[in-house]
Structure formats: C-alpha cells, structure tokens
C-alpha cells in the first residue's frame, strides 16, 4: 500500500519539478501559470484564508464543506438507490411503473439539476447534496436492478433449502450480493458527482473549494486559481481513495464467481 502510494507520487514529483524548472527559466508565463512554489507560498502567507467579508473562508473549512457535500450525497444516493432497486425488483408491477421513469431521468447530467436544487432548497448545503444525489441515484437504481438479476441463482436456492423465507432471501442473500456491484458503479460515477458539486459551488453556493477558483477569477489572482485547481484535484483524489478503501475492505466479495 505504502509502496504503491510512493510509486504514484513519483510522476507527480517529476511533473512539479518540470513545472518549477520551466517557470524558473522563463519558459512559462508565471503570471498566468504560477508554479506550486508560488501558490503554496501564497496560501501560507495569506494564512490559508481566501476572500473577504462575506465571501471569506479558510481553506480547510472549504475542503471539508465540499467533501462533506459529495460524501453525503453519495451516501444518501447509494442507500436510496439500493433500497429502490431492491423494492422495485420484488414486484413486476412496481418495475413496470417505476423503471421507465428512472431510465428517462438517468441520462440527465447532475449539473443540469443545479438550478432545480437552488429553486427548491435555496442556496446552501441541501442543494449541493441534492445535486450529487440526483447525479447518482437514478443510475445506481438501474444498476441495482441489473445486479439483482445477476445474483447467482444457486445462492438463492441454497438459502431457500436452508429454510429462508422470501423476505429472508432478499435481506440475507440478494441485498449483500448486490452491494459490491452497485458500489463499484458509485465509484465510477463519483467524478461526475464531484464536478457537479464544484459547479454548484461556483454558480450558486459561493463557498467550498469550487468557490476558491471563482474568487481567483474575480480578483484576477492566478495563484488563487491554481491553488483552487490543485485542492480540487487532491480532495477528489482523497474521496476516491476513501471509496476505494470501502470497496476493498468492506464490500470486497463478488456475488458471481
């Protein structure tokens, strides 16, 4: 694990070194593309605070705000989608009634839900969580339905021969069997959800890491823009690593061998 992390870091170190070299030699306009040494110094000198007055915030708080929004949205979307997918799969009538609607809503980009969220929930956390939620909920509901259909029938028969009732089969076999597959889909869709949160922060919420970039633009501060971009990348990477950890350590099994 530690060795893999170190190996992943090396290309980044090389990239940063080239960037610094290009800036020092004057190959790149440092005014527009400040190197890490410049924007990190900027962050330290400004005491990890960005913006003024009402728009002022500290960088750690901004990171926590954005990470909280995306994790909360993913968590709620995952739970709701697994519940919906399983409940809908239990009845043909429910599938026929619900799935066409879900299928129609699934292709809508999460970003498109931002105005809807702002109208319904106003400017604040619920809107960001809502945008992430809608970004994953419909897709994951469909993938839960698909996962239910691909559960190994031998596992279901085994449970029934050992006395499991229909309800017990759903709770003790189908539910655990579909979790890993749906979670993999969650991870795949995380990036779209993350982008949606940032877009929501940029256009409406006026805080979080998305806002750092917008503040940089408004103040024409390239240091702030580059800093914001790097923080977005690192935070997104960290959340993805958290999801990967959950996938490997908690939901590691495969239902179909």
């Amino acid at each position: 694990m530690a060795r893999a992390a170190a190996a992943a870091l090396i290309p980044w170190l090389i990239l940063v070194a080239l960037w610094e070299l290009a800036s020092a030699r004057g190959w790149m306009t440092t005014v527009l593309f400040p190197p890490p040494s410049s924007f990190i110094r900027f962050a330290i000198e400004s005491d990890f605070r960005v913006g003024f007055g009402q728009e002022g915030m500290t960088i750690p708080v901004a990171i926590l705000a954005s990470a909280f929004r995306v994790v909360a949205g993913l968590f709620l979307g995952f739970i709701a989608a697994v519940a919906t997918g399983i409940l809908v799969s239990m009845s043909r009538a429910a599938s026929a009634a619900v799935l066409p609607i879900v299928r129609g809503l699934a292709p809508i980009a999460p970003i498109a839900w931002i105005p809807v969220g702002i109208i319904v929930f106003g400017v604040g956390n619920p809107t960001a969580v809502f945008v992430v939620f809608t970004g994953v909920y419909f897709l994951l509901t469909l993938s839960t339905v698909a996962a239910v259909q691909s559960v190994d029938p031998r596992l279901v028969k085994t449970a029934r021969t050992f006395g499991a009732s229909r309800a017990q089969v759903w709770a003790w076999v189908i539910f655990p069997a579909v979790l890993p597959q749906v979670f993999t889909m969650l991870r795949i869709n995380f990036f779209a959800a993350w982008m949606a949160v940032l877009a929501a922060e940029m256009v409406g919420l006026k805080n979080g890491v998305g806002m750092i970039v917008i503040l940089g633009r408004e103040m024409f501060n390239p240091n702030l823009i580059m800093l914001g971009i790097c923080i977005i990348g690192v935070t997104g990477y960290a959340v993805d690593a958290l999801l990967l950890f959950v996938q490997r350590q908690i939901l590691w099994w495969k239902s179909v061998e």
């Binding site: 190994d152 029934r160 021969t161 006395g163 499991a164 017990q168």
Partner: protein, 257 residues
C-alpha cells in the same frame, strides 16, 4: 427416521412464449432410511430437477413426493440440498455459512455457535472457522457446504453433482470424506452424478435415468463391500453394465437434438 417416496412425479417447465419442456416423466422411486442412492444420467436428463422437487424448491407438475407420511410442499429442514461449487455465501465466513440455516430458523446466537463448532470439529474444519470462502480450496469449500447441510441434522441430504467441479485428486478425497460423514451422521443420501465410477464407488443403489424427459430406466443394487476399489473386477462388472446404459442414452439424447 422416515423414508422418501417419489410417486409418479412429473415436471414440466413453462418457458417463454408458451413453450413447455417436459423435464421428468413419471418417475417413481423409494429411498429408505440410511440408504445411499446415486442417480445416474446424462446431462439434461432432469436429475437435478428431481432433487429440487424433493427439496421442495420447485412444485411437481404431477404425482407426489412424501417424506415419511408428509407430502413435500416447500423447503423442509428434513431434506436439504448441497449444490456444486460456489454455493457458499462469499460475504460470510465458514462459521456463519455453516450456521446459516439455523439463523434463518431463528436459533439463538450461542446455540448457533455451539452447533456450528460441533459440526466443524467433526469435519475437521475448526481451524478455518473464521476464513472466508475465497480463502479456501475447492475441496474445502465443499466440505463446508456439507457441514452446512449437516448442522441441522437433516434426515435426507440431496446432493446435486457436488464434486463435479473438482479435480480428480480432490474428488477422490471428497468421496472418501463423504462416506465417512455418511457413516458418522447416519443421514440418507440422494446423490446426483453423471460419473459412473463415482456412482458405483459411493452408492448402495444406482438409479439410471433416461435422457430427457427423464424416466427411471433401471435400478442397480451395488453389492460390493466397502471400502470399494475401482480396480476390483466386480467393480468393473457394474461399470460395464452401467456404461452400456449411459452410452445408449447419450446417443439417444444426441439424436433428439
């Protein structure tokens, strides 16, 4: 201890677009308490279907199956099934897999643990109680599957080609193991296989089924002392007799296709 009676059983599968497939036609069979009966037949002869009917996993289309004086109408703790490989729940450790049936029937945690340990001790798997299925070899997985069947003290164990996916060496060891278990637990075993040698090696009686729709062609009593050896000349006598039947049925099945 009761006997298993299969009386004029018929099973027709309803396929898509009104297609029907007759899997079994008029099968009658009696298995007395403590007996080891092998059902031998070519692939697709309905022998697995017959077991599922006995286990109460599927309703018969005609005729009836009795355990003692009771008619089989659904899954029954007296007759449990053991499937081919991959029927262990991958998200449960060995101990929880073994106790699954007890849990489904509402047995308390302590009692589950105690009975699980008892069975694992008898099949020499205590050391692996906390292992997960993917950490076990194919043979060990099947030992766990057998332990899981034994834990509820069933009168009948219905085995559907349990060793078909194992390599030769493991299969030989598992056959040995099964005979020990059978002698120790005094369950009645109904064992489906398409392997002639396996049937002769294990069973008191071999029931030969025809290709689809499945019917009973012949019942052969195996009068060989145990432990049996495949190199015994008498063994070969049975082999010749059963092979000629199987060959004819395989050819017949091929012609139908």
């Amino acid at each position: 201890m009761s006997s298993l009676q299969i009386r004029h059983v018929r099973k027709v599968w309803q396929g898509a677009r009104g297609l029907t497939v007759e899997a079994i036609r008029d099968v009658s069979l009696q298995v007395s308490s403590g007996e080891f009966v092998a059902i031998l037949g070519p692939s697709g002869c309905g022998k697995s279907t017959l077991l599922e009917l006995c286990a109460g996993l599927e309703p018969a289309s005609g005729g009836e199956i009795l355990i003692g004086a009771e008619r089989v109408t659904g899954p029954n703790p007296k007759a449990v099934m053991v499937f081919q490989e991959h029927s262990l729940f991958p998200w449960l450790d060995v101990e929880k897999n073994v106790a699954f049936g007890l849990q489904m029937r509402g047995t308390g945690l302590n009692e589950r643990w105690r009975r699980g340990r008892e069975v694992l001790e008898r099949v020499k798997l205590v050391k692996f109680a906390k292992h997960y299925p993917h950490q076990l070899s194919g043979g060990m997985k099947q030992r766990v599957a057998i332990a899981r069947a034994l834990v509820g003290n069933p009168e009948f164990i219905l085995m559907d080609e349990p060793f078909a996916a194992l390599d030769f060496q493991t299969r030989v060891l598992m056959q040995q193991f099964l005979l020990e278990v059978w002698a120790g637990f005094k369950s009645t075993i109904l064992f489906v296989t398409h392997h002639i040698d396996e049937a002769i090696l294990l069973a008191d009686r071999v029931v030969v089924m025809s290709s689809a729709p499945g019917r009973v062609l012949e019942e052969v009593q195996i009068d060989l002392p145990r432990p049996r050896s495949m190199t015994d000349p008498d063994f070969n006598g049975y082999r010749v007799r059963l092979t000629s039947h199987m060959e004819r049925e395989v050819m017949r099945a091929a012609e139908v296709e």
